[in-house]
Amino acid sequence: MDTKTAPGRFGRYGGRYVPETLVPAHQELELAYAEAQKDPSFGEQVAQVLREFVGRETPLTPARRLTTLWGGAEVWLKREDLAHTGAHKINNTIGQVLLAKRMGKKRIIAETGAGQHGVATATACALFGLPCEVYMGALDVERQSLNVFRMKALGATVHAVESGSRTLKDAMNEAMRVWVAQIHDTHYVIGSAAGPHPYPTIVRDFQSVIGKEVRTQSLVAFGQLPDAIIACIGGGSNAIGILHPFIGDKNVRLVGVEAGGHGLDSGQHGASLTLGTEGVLHGSRSLVLQDEHGQIMEAHSISAGLDYPGVGPELAYLAKTGRVEVRTATDDEALKAFYEVCRNEGILPALESSHAFARAGELARELGKGKYLVINCSGRGDKDVATIAARGVPPAIRLEGA
């Protein structure tokens, strides 16, 4: 495996596979971002908005009852569910919308799966006074009606995308198609650490605030870096955000959890790192779920935010080189974990985050007593209550809770 990492390349992965019409816009974005990074006032502006508006830093909360229940490492939760709008997605949209303003863009478009990124983009647009158009798969519009309402209330226009599997990947196709036609005055806010260069880098940088906070918070809370960190992986933005600042810390185990859906042999899952093959989707070379003919397969997950057949190129690289350990959790395991966290910690985690919780118990036991485990609680579960209620309470949980 090639380990040389060029800008926009993570080993073999990454790059910029886009129509020629979009190339100059990506070059412009790359340049504008590099300039913004050199300008201390931009960083300060982002930090100030994160502090005053988003409510950062988010807490690192001890999960005492889960620690007891699981009987292994001491468990701590990074509370991205307490960030304004209820998920980590806002860290990136604040940064990107401020960057778009700096570039003189007049309008914002975005794609969304669970709706959290759409809500976060609509929020940033409302805050900074830019019009916002959100593309969302028609199936996701149905299963995330609360977030559709929130986006509209915030002044965004929501377009239901009827093509393909009517989920996140199709919303992303549509947003790219629309962007090609509006390239001169529109910025496309990609919601995960995926897509063509420079998006994976930009999103990772804006999300790294999560991991940077964990570094200092863990030293204060338990006097050392965590022994392991676990996060769910859809496109990979919350995972790369919390994990990236620890890549050089060889003693910190980094674990990602993908959507196992109905099970890895069912063909219905979102486990692109575990079962994907190398391919090009949405402008970057990464691991994707595809058939032997190169057609992208429909992913499946109970959680709309993990229902994506691709993954960001940097995570693909980190997984292939073994720096990030990859596991999966099924829909049922995530549901069970959802109730376990609700009833033991008084927190309703997002279904996406519930995937991380579903594998965290084992990891805590593997690590053992005296070790420290941080779980990225990437978002809150309010948006998922209709989906969860429709499934009924799993039998094992019903007994304990009754």
Partner: protein, 263 residues
């Protein structure tokens, strides 16, 4: 540059016409009937055929070709089957017409770029257009194609700077595909006012013919654009006509466009 594509442009020029590159989707509505559509395009006067190979996530295409992709995938179209079943059948019915494959980079990667280049060449394909492969990412694929003598046809866009357009044109194989509008494929009632200037600029530096495509659907548009290019690409108008009324409608669209390309 010699080869089937160059010859087809030269023949059209000798007749005092701009060349028509006709696009249709292999496998729409099914594999055999799409062969009829390609043959009908040539009967209507198409000089080069662009054989679309469906991809599940066609980010450069508008609704008409997107719809055709979905139908072709449902009908079981794959790159392998297009090379094995559609291309040889089209070759047999239109032995003089150069064939160019248009698809997305992932479809080629899945078969393997070297394997694809070899198979395509053996079956009689002259060139390939990959709308999501900008020059920066195309070096390896182009080398593999060059080794087989398969031409990787580059695209130029309205957003491409003159300097970049120049470097794209200088390196071009087959022809340069100038995208007429900043947008996805599909018919347009109006084409941008500065299109002719852009075409002339690319033409001045390009060693190979220059065509305009995206949005062109009428004889009048073909006439206006054809005055500044070596030819035009017509896709959505053919795909839509074929879907609505079958191969004869596709033939009619090509004949209309060809009328506009008479000089």
């Amino acid at each position: 540059m010699s080869g089937a594509i160059a010859d087809a442009f030269a023949r059209a020029r000798a007749r005092g016409e701009g060349a028509l590159v006709a696009y249709a989707m292999a496998g729409d509505p099914d594999l055999p009937r799409s062969v009829d559509v390609f043959a009908a395009c040539v009967e209507g006067g198409a000089d080069i055929l662009e054989i679309g190979v469906a991809f599940s996530d066609p980010i450069a295409d508008g609704p008409v070709i997107q719809g055709a992709s979905e139908r072709a995938l449902k009908a079981g179209s794959t790159l392998r089957r297009v090379l094995d079943e559609v291309v040889p059948a089209v070759r047999e019915r239109c032995p003089q017409t150069p064939l160019v494959v248009m698809t997305y980079v992932n479809v080629i990667m899945a078969l393997g770029e070297e394997r694809y280049a070899k198979l395509a060449r053996e079956r009689g394909v002259s060139g390939t257009i990959l709308p999501d492969l900008p020059p920066e990412e195309s070096i390896d694929i182009r080398q593999a194609f060059d080794r087989e003598g398969l031409e990787l046809i580059p695209l130029c866009a309205p957003t491409t700077s003159p300097k970049r357009a120049e470097s794209i044109a200088k390196d071009a194989r087959g022809f340069v595909y100038c995208v007429s509008v900043a947008g996805v494929t599909g018919m347009r009632s109006q084409l941008p006012a500065d299109l002719s200037e852009r075409l002339e600029l690319v033409r001045r530096v390009s060693p190979v013919p220059v065509v305009a495509g995206f949005g062109i659907s009428s004889a009048e548009q073909a006439r206006v654009v054809g005055a500044h290019a070596d030819g035009v690409v017509v896709g959505s108008a053919i795909v839509r006509a074929a879907q609505a009324d079958g191969p004869s409608a596709a033939r009619q669209v090509c004949a209309d466009i060809k009328r506009g390309l008479k000089r």
